[in-house]
Symmetry: C2
Subunit: 341 residues, 2 copies
């Protein structure tokens, strides 16, 4: 007898097809282990009954979900969108489903979501940046969940990661800025607390400045959240100083665009009155006028490779290799040259 209202189970299918539950299960999971004729018969019944496996039961029995989780700090700006899209496409091609959560740059929320995703049976996790509590790393290890860190790469850190060296990239950009004759640098940084990428970018600037002995100095650093509006406010703050910087280097493109727009509001010409630089090379960087000097990051490539590596880890073909990708400078209109000083 077939239960009328509730969703059909493996058992229902098995009975209706006149085989054992094991055979039905095998039809679904390893079709080659079943002879064609039975498989066809079973599949027909599956169709008719509209059977869908109960995931909870499946997870419990098989301990595999073919689900990968990713937690990104934000969806509100495009920083991660492209990379994650590529990540998803590659996973899809490999038969995995991606589930995404956004933490709004809040470490507590991120932690909750890590637990949620793990509890829901994620086979592996993609996380952004290294920095999080030792406790949660312990938890992940204990749960035996492969984790790949993206958007960051550092040789100091032993976690498997794919990304670029935020510090070095920003250092390179800074060098270029200095080469353009700038000696007074203002910085708008993302919140560094709990965000190693923001931190390293900031350090990258400071280091590069320290290493060059042309008398270049950092006038001031303002930390603020990654929003256009706050980028603008921070810019205004920097411009209030007596001794104005000739260039404002921003922790990412979103902040830089905020600065750019505010400059216009304030009647300052970029780059004649002040230069502005960003980081990430999101679409926006090319849309604004003047176009933004920034550091280009191979987002899609990173996403794609992350998927490949993480799947390998999940399938125990790798225990986590790290990959460093190369970023590259995009010098555009927003960076000007200082002639005399």
């Amino acid at each position: 007898m077939q239960s009328s209202r509730s969703t059909p189970t493996l058992d229902d299918v098995a009975k209706s097809a006149g085989v054992s539950t094991a055979t039905v299960s095998r039809c679904l999971n390893s079709p080659k282990r079943v002879v064609e004729s039975t498989r066809l018969r079973v599949m027909k019944v599956v169709e008719e009954l509209g059977y869908t496996p109960n995931f909870g039961a499946r997870v419990m029995a098989a301990k595999r979900t073919f689900t990968i989780g990713a937690i990104i700090p934000t969806m509100e700006n495009a920083i991660f969108a492209r990379g994650i899209q590529a990540f998803q496409e590659e996973l899809h091609a490999r038969g995995y489903t991606l589930l995404i959560s956004s933490s709004a740059y809040n470490p507590d929320v991120e932690e909750e979501q890590i637990r949620a995703l793990v509890a829901r049976g994620a086979d592996g996790l993609l996380l952004i940046g290294y920095e999080r509590s030792a406790e949660i790393y312990r938890y992940l290890e204990h749960q035996n969940i492969p984790v790949l860190i993206a958007w960051a790469f550092s040789e100091q850190n032993s976690h498997a990661s794919i990304g670029f060296d935020n510090r070095a990239s920003m250092g390179e950009l800074t060098q270029t800025v200095i080469d353009h004759g700038h000696r007074k640098i203002g910085i708008i940084s993302g919140i560094t607390k709990g965000n190693d990428r923001a931190e390293q970018r900031l350090e990258g600037i400071i280091e590069a400045v320290a290493q060059c002995d042309l008398g270049t100095k950092v006038m001031r650093v303002v930390e603020t959240s990654y929003e256009i509006e706050s980028g603008g406010d921070a810019f205004a703050e920097l411009m209030e100083c007596e001794d104005r910087p000739t260039v404002v280097m921003c922790g990412n493109d979103v902040l830089a665009v905020g600065a750019l727009l505010r400059a216009q509001d304030l009647g300052l010409h970029v780059p004649n009155d002040v230069s502005i630089t960003g980081f990430d090379d999101i679409e926006l960087a090319l849309i604004v006028t003047p176009s933004l000097t920034t550091v280009h990051v191979p987002h899609r490539e990173m996403g794609r490779r992350a998927a490949i590596e993480l799947v390998k880890m999940v399938e125990k073909l790798s225990d986590g290799a790290s990959t460093e990708l190369q970023s590259s400078l995009r010098v555009r209109e927003s960076l000007g040259r200082i002639k005399d000083h």
Copy 2:
């Protein structure tokens, strides 16, 4: 005896604390049903062992996951980001976890992801727009999963939804365009196939034009994917005509920004040579120069309310009410006035 390597189970905790599994379960799920002293003891063991409930087993036994799934067409541009962020925040406040998937505007992928999310125990689903196969709607009904449609509202449709009337909103914008003296309209629409929002926006323009008898006409419609680049290409195509439109109305802001940029490349001044309008009022609309005339949509409000309603549905306090939100025009620099004709 306690298994040494694998993650601890309820049983391990129970044994170690000297109580039954039922008591441990109650400590975790309904603490008031357990006396304080035992609860403390149990929780201590939970801590020590680093116990986390097995989600699969829990789902199976309890049939509730406190997980909501959402499938959005894209993460690559900001259209959905803000609304989804608000949706997530509100869900979080109510104790639910949001899991997101992106379908890349592909109905087949969307369908797969619906199944994936349902299979993984989503208590309810947020979907964008009405249009999808009858089959998948049947599946959802069969599985008894509450579904709320967002970013769309139509009285014709019986599904619970929250959104605005895409057709009417676009009609209103069109009326304003006509009032500005425009008589020759070019249209860049999103792909209408499988996208009711794109379709209704297009219809909204065409209807409004038909209803006004000032001799206004639609010169040409170009359908293209929602990317800046394709918006630009479509714009170029429209500008090739003998009898050029005086205004190009776009299906969303992304297309409009593409058109705007291309206009600049082509040496056309906006709005003197040609006006451009968008839809959505994403951040970009205010960033570009000239600023974009568009239709503002209360994204955050929509996300928030969607969360409230969907949770009600999941908790059987509602069987799906629909809410219409009001959009509003934002007339900005990109729309000019035609004086003589």
